[in-house]
């Protein structure tokens, strides 16, 4: 009887002990919030090393891009404790810094000897700094990204198409270096029969609901001469946003949409673009660089069939590209800030960053991207580097959301619905943005 009692007591104690241990482990688990996309899967894989090293478990909260901003901005605004770490979009940095959602990382960086000079400058400005171009850091650059292009190298290299193209346009069919060339190629492929299938010129961003058409149109407008404001007088937008060059840029984007996109592509963003390219519908495809590893591996369109090029030059030779990507921040409402900072310290490590790139993430660490072996490490690596060197980003002001909504409406109304002129759209945009900044007391 005594031995039975002892056994029972022993088992019960062991059960309690194991529960307590597992509870302690769970209490230390960190939750990282991000978008549900390919790089997030790579991060899950990468983070297993962190758990091994630190004993801190990682949980992930991934939300599809279409709901990403709504979901996580709501979480931050309501001071929720769901996320200990968040990889927030670059445009959130102003609002998240000013509203106290993110922990300021300057002291931590100083203490841990993490230098922002070790990261690609554009990513530091884009993902970490608020106010821009000041040494106030709210995130560690985590995922470099930029809008670039993929093309069907196998179609471009068909001798009969090369011959026909040369006869028609007088230059060799190859990856375009100017937007004029890009449009000529797109026109050439539009509704062409290739391998018994009708194909189309290009897939571009036209999505209305979140940020799609703004990212696409801006990607073109920058190289045509669009500027957000007077460089000498902040928030003065008249004559810059709606300059003649900007108008030409927007007209070009509409012309590209009208002439050379697949039927029904009136609400197309990252996912739809990938689908159009993967299904062999389009000759060229505008998209963020994060899509390239997946496309490179694709059996039907990847491997030798795919090529990459950076955003082409505008009429005056200017060349810019829309910045994507995000930094990783510690949420100020988290009870586990210490553990979250440990993760950031681990993530900033060179070896971890090198593995991050090898798994399909885009490292922003100079030591990784400036390594001599980097350009040859992947077929798209050089294009990524070229593109990251020419980036510009949308407003990152605390009011980025209404600013974005205004451009979504103005651009979609003109480009897709064909309402009014490019000048009307950009004049309207100046009016909308002025109202937003007036509401904010900045004008």
């Amino acid at each position: 009887m005594k031995s039975t009692l002892k056994l029972t007591l022993g088992l019960t104690s062991a059960m309690f002990a194991s529960t307590a241990v597992s509870n302690v482990a769970h209490a230390e688990d960190l939750t990282l919030c991000w978008a549900a996309w390919d790089p997030a899967n790579a991060l899950v894989e990468l983070s297993k090393d962190f758990t091994k090293e630190s004993g801190i478990g990682m949980k992930f909260e991934f939300v599809p891009w279409t709901n990403y901003a709504d979901r996580f901005l709501n979480e931050l605004n309501s001071k929720g404790k769901l996320c200990d770490l968040i990889i927030g979009d670059s445009q959130w940095i102003g609002g998240s810094a000013e509203n106290g959602h993110y922990v300021k990382l300057n002291d931590f960086f100083d203490k841990e000897k993490i230098s922002m000079d070790d990261f690609v400058p554009a990513t530091v400005v884009g993902y970490s700094e608020w106010p821009k171009n000041t040494p106030n850091y709210w995130a560690l650059p985590a995922m470099g990204d930029v809008v670039g292009w993929t093309y069907r190298k196998d179609w471009f290299s068909k001798p009969e198409l090369q011959k026909e193209f040369k006869e028609k346009y007088g230059w060799d069919l190859a990856a375009p270096t100017t937007f004029d060339q890009l449009k000529q190629i797109a026109e050439f492929f539009q509704k062409r029969e290739i391998d018994g299938k009708t194909v189309y010129g290009a897939s571009i961003y036209t999505e209305r609901g979140s940020e799609g058409i703004t990212m696409g149109a801006m990607d073109v407008l920058y190289s045509f001469g669009f500027k957000y404001e007077n460089p000498d007088k902040p928030y003065e937008m008249d004559g810059f946003v709606n300059s003649e060059k900007s108008v030409k840029g927007l007209e070009f984007y509409k012309a590209l949409y009208d002439c050379c996109t697949p039927p029904g592509a009136s609400n197309s963003y990252m996912g739809e673009g990938v689908d159009a390219f993967k299904s062999g519908q389009v000759a060229m495809h505008m998209n963020f660089a994060f899509t390239w590893p997946g496309l490179q591996k694709d059996e039907n369109v990847g491997g030798d069939k795919i090529g990459y090029f950076a955003n082409p030059k505008g009429p005056d030779g200017d060349q810019f590209a829309q910045l994507g990507g995000q930094g990783i921040s510690v949420v100020s409402y988290s009870d586990k800030q210490e553990a979250a900072l440990k993760y950031i310290k681990w993530f900033a490590n060179k070896d971890v960053q090198a593995k991050w790139w090898s798994l399909g993430g885009y490292s922003c660490l100079n030591a990784v991207v400036k390594d001599p072996s980097f350009p040859a490490s992947q077929p798209y690596a050089q294009t990524f580097l070229d593109s990251m060197a020419i980036v510009k980003d949308f407003w990152a002001e605390p009011s980025y959301a209404p600013l974005l909504q205004a451009s979504q409406k103005r651009f979609h109304d003109y480009v897709v619905a064909g309402q009014g002129s490019a000048k009307d759209a950009l004049d309207g945009l100046v009016k909308d943005w002025t109202e937003v900044f007036q509401d904010d007391g900045k004008m």
Binding site: L73, S266, K409
Partner: protein
């Protein structure tokens, strides 16, 4: 048996509790039972309504929790009433409500009238007709989006087959002129059965002897329809119009799934604008004012309509 059970329950009730219960009047007991519901209603309906009214007079933004909230008086209301985009959204809503109600009422009543003939297999066909109404709007929105797809969609192929226009040129969701109709078609497909059901109830409530009397008076079928069927079914038709009108005035899910308000802003109904202002632009005070305006508009119109409905019923 029942008394015995009640007695045993009464005996089992502890004395202090039993004393308390005995002290409560019938009215008190009624209040005790309905108070959880009332509290719930106050918490999730009434309080948010008053809170929204309060917010509509402020510059509050939900994404700036640390900012000082200022009273702006009627500024939000003035801005909304002077905002051209809001008026365009209201026109789009009115266009959508008008055509969906017209089509649903005409087709719904016709179907009800046909089903009421009680032909062979009418029960089976009634069930088949009701199927769209039983589906989730999310499912309907998604599969119609595929049906409308110009490259692979069956709808585009069907129209192409009939008209000879290439399917790839039938962009129901991307064409500015066609997009509003694409939503009207789906809403009509989905909700006509609902109107039909209400109209059928109306038709079945008309006593048979009235028709028999009309037959005796040698009234033609046409005359019977105009003098008996339509007037007697009218209150039911009006009820269906009221229900569909209120629902479609606040239509969100279908539009959001099919077009998201596009192309451009051609299908941006009021509820989509409201969602954008509230949860994308984070203008909480402004969107609260817009919500109150919409609420007053629907409430006012519905009240006028209900009065008209009562008059028709009294005739």
């Amino acid at each position: 048996m029942l008394n015995r059970t009640a007695d045993s329950v009464a005996r089992a009730t502890p004395e202090p509790l039993a004393r308390k219960v005995r002290g409560i009047s019938d009215k008190g007991l009624a209040w005790l039972f309905i108070s959880p519901t009332i509290l719930l209603l106050l918490a999730i309906n009434i309080f948010p309504l008053f809170w929204a009214i309060y917010l509509s007079f402020t510059n509050y933004r939900a994404n700036r929790p640390n900012e000082v909230v200022k009273n702006v008086g009627l500024a939000n209301y003035k801005r909304i009433l002077g905002d051209q985009d809001i008026w365009i959204a209201m026109q789009t809503t009115a266009h959508f409500v008008f055509w969906t109600i017209l089509l649903q009422t005409l087709i719904g009543f016709t179907l009800a009238w046909l089903i009421d003939r009680k032909f062979r297999g009418h029960a089976f066909w009634t069930t088949i007709i009701l199927v769209p109404m039983m589906l989730s709007p999310a499912v309907v929105g998604n599969f119609w989006r595929f049906l409308y797809e110009p490259q692979i969609g069956l709808f585009a192929y069907a129209i192409s087959f009939v008209s000879g226009i290439p399917a790839t040129e039938i962009g129901m969701l991307s064409n500015v002129s066609l997009a509003p109709w694409s939503i009207i078609i789906v809403d009509t497909w989905m909700w006509t059965p609902y109107v039909m059901l209400i109209c059928l109830a109306g038709l079945r409530s008309i006593p048979e002897y009235i028709y028999e009397a009309a037959e005796v008076d040698r009234a033609s079928n046409w005359r019977q329809f105009w003098s008996i069927t339509l007037p007697m079914a009218l209150p039911f038709i009006m009820l269906a119009v009221l229900f569909r009108g209120i629902e479609n005035f606040k239509m969100f899910d279908m539009v959001n799934l099919l077009t998201g308000g596009g192309p451009g802003s051609t299908t941006e109904v009021a509820s989509i604008t409201l969602k954008r202002q509230a949860f994308e632009s984070w203008r909480t005070g402004y969107s609260s004012a817009f919500a109150i305006i919409l609420f007053v508009a629907v409430f006012g119109l519905a009240n006028i309509y209900v009065k008209a409905l009562n008059k028709v019923k009294q005739r």
